[in-house]
Structures are given as C-alpha cells and as structure tokens.
Point group: C2
Chain length 717, copies 2
C-alpha cells in the first residue's frame, strides 16, 4: 500500500506537468492560428479597399469581407452545433458547474476539445465580437481530464496508464488544475489561474492539490512563453509571460482626486453590465423558444457574422474621423477614405482582432482617438457582443467586455478633461480605459476574486491594485441590484443545480424535514436480487444512491416509535448507503448468495478468491462510464438469490436529523462535496433523503427592500 | 431581521477598512522607528570607529556597540517576558493555531500588540538576527480583533460598537483579514496576504469573506504606500507598494541551462533548512528544560545580543576584504581598516538592518563581494539566526533566512562562474542570490503557497515564477525527509492540537470507536440544577460541550439495545449538544423551573418577558470571556430546581456512527471547524465524544521506507 501511495503521488505530479505543457500547446496553436489568419484576412481586405479608392467599387471589398466572415463562422458554427453542442459559448459556466459537482455529459471529451479549439479560431477570425480566453480555459480542463484518465472514448482507446487515478475525485482535481493552466496560458496570470480553480472548484483547501495546481499553472505560463519567444525569434528572452497582457501601466500613476471619478465609472460599469445581462437574458429566452433547430442556430451565427462585417464597414466609411499620422505610428493603417498622411481611427480599431484593438485603446495616445468614434463604437460593439454571446459558436465574453469598457472608459476620461481641464494633471487616458475595462467586465460577469487577480497580473503592476479592486466590488454591488452575473444567469437558465458559495442568509428556519424527499426507496442489508434489478430498471433516474436499512425485527416493536412521530413514516434503521453504480456492478459480477446465506458465485468473472482488491479494481473501471441501463441477464433462479450489501456499502454515510437547518446541510454539501444526505429521525431511522438539487433550489433573492429565500425551478432529468 | 443583516454587512466592510488602515499604521510606525533608530545607531558607531583609526582604542566603539545592543535587547526582552509572553517569537505559529481553531489566551490583546510592536523595534535595532515581518502579521491580527470587537479588557472599556459582530466565528474571520493585511503591509504583497489567510484560516472558501480580506489587504498596502510616499516627500508617486520589496528583477533573465543549477541549490536549501530546524529544535528542548525562569530568558537574549555585536565587530576587522569604491557607490560605507578609496565589504553587510543587507546582496554588483566574506558571513549568520529564533523577544525568521540564503546563493553563483567560466557568461549574480534566498526560506519554513506568492510579488515580476516555484517545492521535499517546518515544529513542541491540511494517508482503518472518549458526561433534556453545578464545578476542563440525551424511559427497554452492543455502554438517545458557556449563563441568569415543570424565575436579572432575543444578547456578551470558575451562588432550594435545556441546546449537532473512519471525522473537524463530535451507535444513542485533540494526535509519519500513522502526545490543559 505504501508503494501505491508513492506511485500515485508521482503520477499526480506527472499529470500536472503534462497538463501544463498540453494546455499551453493548445493555447499557442489557437493563438498563432488566429494571429496569422487575421493578419492574412485584413491584409487582403486592406489591399482591396486601397485598390478601390472610392465610389461604387467599394461594394467589392465589402462583399469580400462579408463572405469571408460568413464562411468562417458558418464552418465554426457547423462544427459546434453538429459535432459537440457542449463546445458552444465560453465554457466557463460549464467548467464552474463541473467543479461544483454537477456532471455534464460530453463536456470533457476529445470531441469537445476539437470543436472548441477549431471553433474559436473560426469565430475570432470570422470577425465575431468574441474572445478566445474562455475556450482556452475549457481546453485546459479537457486536456487535464484526458491525460489523467489515460483513455478516450472517441478513439476507443485505453492507454492503461494512470489507472490508479481513475476516480471521480481525482478527475475533478485534475480538471481544476487544467482550468488553472488554461487561465494561466490565456492571460499569463498563474496566480489568477490558481485562484480561479480554488474559487470555483475547491470546496476545501487541499494543500498538496493546490501545490500541484500552482505547478501546472506555472508550467503552462512558461511553456507558452518559451514557444512564443521561439516563434518570434528571441528564444532566450523569457520576459513575455502569457498570451494576453494589457501591457505595462507602470509609468502611469493616479491621484487621490481621481478616485471618486473611478467610483462613478464603477457605477456606470455596474449599470451597463446589468443592462447587458438583462438583454442577453431576454435573448436567451427567445432562443430557447424559437431557435431550437440546429440549422437555425447555424443560420443565426452566420447572420451575426455578416452583420458584424457590414457594421464595421459602414462605420469606417461614414464616421468622419481622420487624424494625422503621428510619428512612429504603425504603418499598417490604411488611409481608407482619408487624405494622405492621415489615417482612419475607426479602421484602426476594426481592422484587428478584438484583442489587438483592446491593447491599442489601452495604450494609444490621446490624440489618436476622438469622442465621436469612441462613442459610436462603444454603443455598436456593446450591442454586437450582446447578440454574439449565446450563439452556437465557440466564443468568450472576456475580451468584448474589456474592449467595450476600455472604449467608454477612454471616452469618460476625455469628457472629464473637457469639463475640468485644469484639475486633472496627468493627461494619459490609458488609465481611464483600464478602469473602464475593469468596471465593464466586473458589471457583466460580476467579478470574482480570481478575475481580480487576473486583471492585476495582466496590468503587470500593483499600482492599480486598489482602484481595480474597489471598482470591481462596486460594479458588482450595483449590478447585483438588478440581476445576477452573466455566467450564473446562463447556468440558472440551463437549470443546473449549482450550489452558490454560501447558504441563503434567511434560511435558518428551513429544516431538513421540509427539504427532504420522502418516501425514500431503501434496500435491506441483505436484499433479494429481484428487488435490486427492479429498482435499477424501473427507477432509472430517481437517485444515484440508496440508504441501506435494517427493518425492525417485528412490526410490533416498530409501532411505538411510529406513535411518537406519527406524521412521518420511517423506513428502517440506517445502516449505510450504497450507490447505484455499485449495485450495477454487484449484479454484473453476480456476487449472489443463496437465500439461506451461503455464498453462491454463479459467474466466473470473479476469481474464486475474490478478495477486496479485485472488487475495488472493478469498481474503479466502472466509475466513469455512464451507468448503463444494465442489460441484466438474470435468470429466474438467480432472482431468488440474495446479495449481502454490507461489505460494499458505505457503512457511515453522512446523516442529519430532521431538525437540521438548511445552512447546516448546505455546508455539508458544499464543504464536503456530498451528493446525498440521509435524514434520520432521532432513533437513527431513515425518514428522508436530501440531494444536491433539493439544496440548490433555495436561492437568496435580495430585493432592494427585503432579503428573502426563493425556491428555484430545477430541471428534472 | 433584514435590517440586522444589512447593518452587519456594512459593519463588516467598515471593520475591514479600519483594519487595513490600522495595520498599515502600526506597520509604518515599526518601519519608520527602526529605520531612524538604526541609522542613528550606525552613524554614531561609524563615527566612533573612524575617530579611532586603529589599535587599542578600537575597544571603545566595540564596547559602545555591545552596550547599545545589550540595553535595547534587554528592554525588548523584559517587555516580552514580563508583559506578555505570547508576544515572543514571530507570532505566525500562534496566528496559524488561532485560525486553525485553537484558542490561545492573551494572543490578541492590546497588551500583546504593545509588547510585540515595541519589542520588535528594540530587537531589530538591537542588532539581533531577526526581521520584523512576522510581528507585523501578528500586529495586523490583533488590530483586526480589537476593532471588530469594539472593546478591550486591558483598558476595561467597551465601546459598544459592532456588538452584532461579537461571536467566535466573526472574530476569527476578521483576524484572518487582519493577518492578510499584515502580510500585505509587511511585504507589499496583497495577493500573498489573501492566500496566507485562506491557507491558514479558511477551512472553506467563503466568497464574501474573501472579498473583504482582499479589500483589507489592498487598503493596507496602499495606506503604507501613501504614508511612506508622504514621509519620503513625494506624496503623489504611488509606485512604492509596501515595506519590503526585493527590488525589481525585470532586467535579469535566465537560461534553460541554469535550471539544473537552481535545482541543485534547492537541494542545498532543503538540507540547510533541515539542519537549521534540527539545531533549533534541540535548542528549544534545552530551553524548555533549563531556561524556565523569566530572568534567565532575559539574560539569554542579552547574551545573544552581545554576541551578535562582538561577532560583527570581529568579522569586520579580521576578514581582509577591502575593495575599491566603485563609482556612484553609496557614500555611507566607512573605510574601516581599509585604505582610502576603498571600503570594507563585511561592514557594508553588517552596518545595516538585515533587510537593507538583503537588498544589497540581491542587487549588488558582482565585484562588490568576495567569496571569503560571503562564506564566513553565511556560516556565522546561520548560527546566529538559529540561536536567535526562540529567544524571548519579538522577532521574525523571514529576513534572516532570506539573508542567509541570498548570501550562499551569491556564493554558489560565484563558484559556478569560477568552475565553468565560459558556459555561464558574465551574468548578474543577483538571480543566484534570489534563488538562494527562496531555497533557504523554503527549506526552513517549508514554504506554503502563500509564501510563494509573497516571494513572487516581492520580486515584482513573473519572470522568476517557475524557478521560484520549482525550488520551493524541491526544498520542501528535501527538508521534509528529515524533519518538519520550523513553525510546525514549534507548534508541535507547544503541544497544540493543530489539525494539518489533510488526514494521514493510512488512517482509513482507524474508526470513531477507537478514537472517541468514553464514558461521556451527558445531561438530560431537563436536568437538575444541582447536577449542572456539580458538572461545572468539578469537571472544569473535561470538555467544553456536553451531549444532551433522553434516557430510555425504563431500564427494561434499554436492556435489549445493550445486549446487541454488549461492550459499549450507551448514554441515552442523543437530543442535542449544549456548551459549557451556555450552561454557565443559564445558571447565572437562573432560568430555573421547579421540578414539576413550572417556570420559576428566581432572579430579576432577566426581564419578565424574557424573550429569546434578550437571551441571545446575553449569550453574545459572554462568548469571549474566559468561562469563569462560576462563583455560583445557588441556594439549596434552587438546587432542587430543574433547567429545561431544550430551548438552548443545539438540536442537531454533528454526529457520526462508531464505524466512521478517521479521515471522515477529520474532514468534518477541519472542513466545518468543529470542536466536538458526538459518536452514536446505530440507535442514535450517545456512546462517545471526539474532540479536536483526539483527531489532532494522529499524524502522518513518513519515514523513508514506509508511511505510518503516529500518535502524538498532546498537552493536557
């Protein structure tokens, strides 16, 4: 056993190493593909536009632009919609759910990885208002799940490695490491990545797991670093930590007088974010109702792609915003409809990936932008991003939010300077763009702590730490007055029983008695095969675990207890808990005994000396397969046999009494990752069961006047 | 109730704001005092040394140095030893224990704050090999506890504010925020501070608490920033985030070829750290045996102070290491016994605070140091630091560890250059000093994740992220082969039942039955006053909580149950749990009823309409007072009365059955912060109690060959 512990220890570290490297590879492939394809696309377009100086022939570049976008997004949407619908969107909500303990089929497959990675390249190059960060995080999670399990159902291949890591818990741990590596690779924010996993996944601080997550994150950051350095031809320079970086803000500082301005921006960010979520929520409801067919989903995506191109084109040519080329300016701006020696601002925003636009907005010179352009752009892009999120394509919301925020932040800064020209000394508006980006993102996804740290790490300097934290907190408060964060909203709309971080405030008077399911299906310690088969076949989705009980020896003795609690039926004394999957295995391997108690092993699938180790191995192999609708070939003779469940069941399951409060049960579920909780009366007799869903449906509903507890509708599977 | 929730919410944020500011104030006072006092001391000494060119009159500066050190340390030690012994050492182990759930009397008092803050100034200025960071963290924790509770026992003052925050849990939450603020102020590492609290304190991720901790940390960093900027005369420059910063390493990079060298350094660091801990452990045992008297403790501190001065003096004058003054070199080096135009290296290390020495070692030029000086210094300082830690003074181990490591790291780098002059080009040796510092600290305190992030934040750049994480992990592994981390070692020696992060690996076959205490002292749901008084008076320290049970109505009915489990006595059906402090209150307020069940309120201390609110308030007031050896003035008549415990007890305490494994109980204690766990048989009858100590005494003992579980001796209070 000591050997096994050591082997497992080594294997865990190895998996983390490979996860870091693998995630970084996926992320760099995405990054480099997007970079080159976008450059190619915009070079062609720029040439086309410059070739046609003006007039009617402008239709040609416009049509070309639309066609390119439409084709790319069509392919991307096709891939996602028909190959793996779980690859749609950013993937962060789904990863949150998985880490929270909810199983989502198809989420962590090689198929999803392909759809996600290729899909996001097509979406971003296709000109949609979306980013690639969410998909990178999802990819990291898949890489980790794949490596740790050493097998793939798509390839029907079992590599027979790391077999001792095959359990739900281990897999979940590795997925949290993979998600961290994804964050780390996408943003160059290893500490942010670690916090992301901790916040979303770790129900309890696990020191050695956290170390491995730190390690995977660091490895991912530095693999990205090394690959990108090598590609850009300066392999020895290790100062380029990740994919996104907002660039250094260390030369900019701020004054105390600006803090109130930042707070005003935070309120604006909260309001805009709430608006965004509100509109997107309505849109999602609309989609659920009317856009159900797959081809309609693809059509919608293509429509949005065309619209994005048209809008960009129209804005570039209708907004009159030519400015002088400043010295040392990048030469890739086409002059568009501007005179020589000038360039078009709108085109310098639009003819780029959203990410590159973000960096120019953050670090551009003040004179490079005018208020009209920024104003129109921010409104249009806001609408576009809102429509884009939720399409059946692989797309992230981070970059569009940051970009919208940065644009209105810069606009805000310009307005402030116009209003109070002398009181603000340092005129660099980059800081307003930064704060605006933080506010908008905070108002939209309701910044979690990990995202705060990600932003801090992206700016590469602690200088803006306090303002960023403050505006994130305030944007969240303001937004929370109206609705919930974007990710949580989508999770709720999917009807997934996600447990929030804390129990609702006012739920102390809700007790287990009210929450529990009763009657409960229980099994006896020695149960007849026919009954078990019946339970497995006829109650396919009731629960995935059953209490094992011992009925009171005679009915006569049981009656006094029922007289004390007359309203509640009890189902026998609680002895343990057995999982559905364990029952399937017991049936499959036919570990039966005759009704008289002698062990009858009908099948040869178990060696005669079936010791516990062998059985454990079988349990392990089975764990991750979806529990089959067991094609139980049980003869009539066998049906009369019995199974002694006691050696297999969990003999000390978590239980509560009927008086336990909701917060108490909540902490058990969330803190210990439970899926079932048996409710006993004070004689240790089973009276009910509480599942994750029963707990998750109670949500705090903080209206302005009063805090109340709300009961959500949860999807019945 | 909604109002109360909102009030509490506002109060919590306010407390965090004040905690951040308060901690920053304390930290800057410590910092500025040390800075000025040290400067003054060394200026005087330098003048004395320069005045006496050489020869016998050197005795004068030497004696002056010894005298100054001795006096300062004498005062510091006096303060700590006689005023508040809990202020000794760095305070981090004690804070760890407190956050882990162990109460340490006197730890969080104003008295301790004074002793700690003034003590650390005296120790550092007194020339001991110690730092001020640990004490700053402890100070932050005290500030938070003080502000949140709004009263002080030292001043016998109750400010009547934040009364609704007076509970054990709230206080613990705020202390974790205060500790984070302390880290943040001491190192300029707000994210590191947050991770410190999470790692040591938060048994479970609590989102809104974590937000408040982030906020407190940020406020602390920026308050320090603003104050220091103002003191140094450039108030608008907000680029100076905290007290310690190792300075930027962004201009230095490393090559792949250097990674193996770093790993070798990690192994050395682990070995040196283990040696340090081993020697310090032996020393601590010696101290426990022979240095028990208070005056002996003070004497030892003074002795070490004198020795430090003598050693510095002797080294400066015997090691022949004059080097040319480089251009632009700081002018505060005295030439000592060197010719004009040169300065003495040893003096440039010694005539500073350890912190300033650390920064020069990290950022000095290669030609400023020679191998002989570094070698001798590192050995001597290692011994000195080892002797210093554990003295009865307020002192931290961070800076001495980092300094020792930096010195041997630089030495290692010089040796590498000498051995392989061409493969490593003319490189800046600062990075070797940095890695050495990390290795040594990692080997000594066995770096936790928070400390990793602190180091990352201190270097101000992510470039060295991966090497630092790698060497920390390896130094920890190497060190762990020999002994445990310095803090944990001291905690174990104090006999404190600290629960580690995870249960011992091989403990699945240890069950509640083996661990529990039996027989258990139980109370009936309606208990006689005389019995309660008896329990309170005669079992003063047995448990702080008692199961409340309902005895089986007749003995006849109880017998069949005992026949099933013949070996175990049962103590009645479990109904709830009541705390010792609650019992004291009930007695104090005389909530008695006559034996026949009528309520008799003998005392007038409760209003006639004693509703639950009033009682809750009393419970709140009492919580933090050490439970008095209740001077229960109970008349004989009252003793015949009864108390109905049911309205006051916790009606659904956590329970396990006898078959529950140690890891399961461990997770309950650690994850949910329990103090008592009732063990029931399968009829819900109490058979035993498990306390924190019973769980904490099982430790994993990983010898090289085999992993085993060890039972520790825990101090009996």
């Amino acid at each position: 056993r000591t050997l096994l512990v050591r082997k497992r220890w080594v294997a865990r570290w190895l998996v983390c190493l490979f996860t870091g490297v693998g995630t970084a590879l996926v992320a760099t492939v995405i990054e480099v593909s997007i970079e080159h394809a976008t450059e190619f696309k915009f070079n062609v377009l720029r040439k086309l536009i410059n070739w046609c100086d003006s007039g009617t022939c402008m239709a040609l570049p416009m049509l070309a632009w639309i066609a390119v976008n439409a084709v790319l997004v069509f392919l991307g949407s096709l891939l996602v919609t028909y190959m793996e619908p779980q690859a749609a969107g950013s993937g962060i909500p789904q990863i949150k759910c998985y880490l929270n303990g909810v199983k989502i089929p198809g989420l962590l497959t090689v198929r999803a990885l392909l759809a996600k990675a290729v899909g996001v390249i097509l979406s971003v190059v296709g000109g949609l208002a979306c980013g690639k960060e969410g998909p990178m995080i999802h990819s990291g999670a898949i890489v980790a799940a794949g490596i740790s399990q050493g097998r793939s159902r798509l390839f029907k291949k079992d590599f027979k490695i790391f077999e001792y890591l095959r359990s739900d818990t281990e897999r979940r741990d590795f997925v949290s490491g993979g998600a961290a590596a994804g964050v780390s690779a996408a943003f160059g924010a290893p500490v942010g990545g670690v916090l992301f996993s901790l916040e979303e996944g770790a129900s309890f601080w696990n020191q050695s797991l956290t170390w491995r997550i730190v390690f995977a994150s660091m490895v991912a950051t530095f693999t990205v670093n090394i690959i990108l350095s090598a590609i850009h031809g300066h392999a020895s320079d290790l100062s380029n930590p990740g994919l996104i970086s907002f660039g250094r803000f260390s030369h900019i500082t701020y004054e105390a007088i600006e803090i109130p301005l930042f707070l005003v921006m935070a309120v604006i960010g909260g309001l805009l974010g709430a608006t965004f979520n509100g509109i997107n929520g309505k849109l999602t409801v609309f989609r659920k109702k009317f856009i159900k067919r797959k081809w309609l989903k693809v059509l919608e995506a293509v429509l949005v792609a065309c619209l994005s191109a048209v809008m960009a084109f129209v804005l570039i040519f209708t907004v009159d915003d030519c400015v002088e080329n400043s010295e040392g300016h990048e030469t890739d701006h086409s002059h568009m409809n501007c005179p020589d020696g000038q360039h078009n601002i709108m085109s310098s925003i639009f003819l780029k990936t959203p990410e590159a636009s973000l960096i120019s907005i953050l670090h551009g010179k003040n004179e490079d932008y005018n208020m009209l352009t920024l104003g129109i752009f921010s409104v249009m892009y806001f609408m576009l991003a809102c429509w884009t999120y939720g399409l059946s394509v692989s797309s992230g919301i981070f970059i569009p939010s940051l970009l919208t925020g940065a644009v209105w932040g810069r606009l805000f800064g310009m307005a402030v300077i116009q209003l109070f020209p002398e009181s603000i000394g340092d005129k660099d508006l980059g800081k307003y763009a930064l704060i605006g980006a933080a506010c908008h993102l905070g108002g939209t996804v309701r910044m979690t702590i990990s995202l705060t740290v990600i932003l801090l790490e992206c700016t590469g300097d602690i200088t803006f730490g306090l303002p960023i934290v403050m505006v994130l907190i305030i944007a969240k408060w303001v937004g929370d007055l109206f609705n919930t964060g974007l990710y949580d909203m989508h999770i709720q709309m999917m009807g997934i029983p996600l447990l929030p971080w804390e129990p609702p405030e006012m739920s102390y008077d809700i007790t287990a008695k009210q929450v529990m399911n009763s009657p409960v299906l229980t099994l006896n310690t020695t149960e007849k095969v026919s009954r078990i088969v019946d339970v497995l076949e006829n109650m396919p989705h009731l629960h995935s675990g059953f209490p094992v009980v011992e009925k009171a020896p005679t009915d006569g003795e049981a009656s006094p207890s029922s007289s004390e609690t007359p309203s509640l039926e009890s189902f026998g004394r609680c002895k343990g808990l057995i999982l559905r999957s364990q029952l399937c295995l017991l049936i499959k391997h036919k570990v039966f005994s005759a009704a008289n108690g002698d062990l009858v092993r009908v099948s040869a699938s178990l060696p005669a000396s079936a010791d516990k180790e062998v059985r454990l191995e079988h349990f392990r192999d089975a764990y991750s397969q979806d529990i089959p609708s067991v094609n139980l070939e049980i003869s009539e003779a066998e049906k009369d046999c019995c199974i002694d469940l006691q050696p297999y069941m969990n003999p000390s399951p978590f239980t509560v009494t009927m008086t336990a409060s909701l917060p108490r049960m909540f902490r058990l579920f969330r803190g210990l990752g439970l899926r079932h909780l048996i409710v006993n009366n004070d004689k240790n007799e089973v009276v009910g069961m509480v599942t994750r869903k029963d707990i998750a449906k109670f949500r705090q509903n903080a209206k302005v006047g009063k805090i109340q507890v709300q009961e959500l509708q949860i999807r019945q599977e």
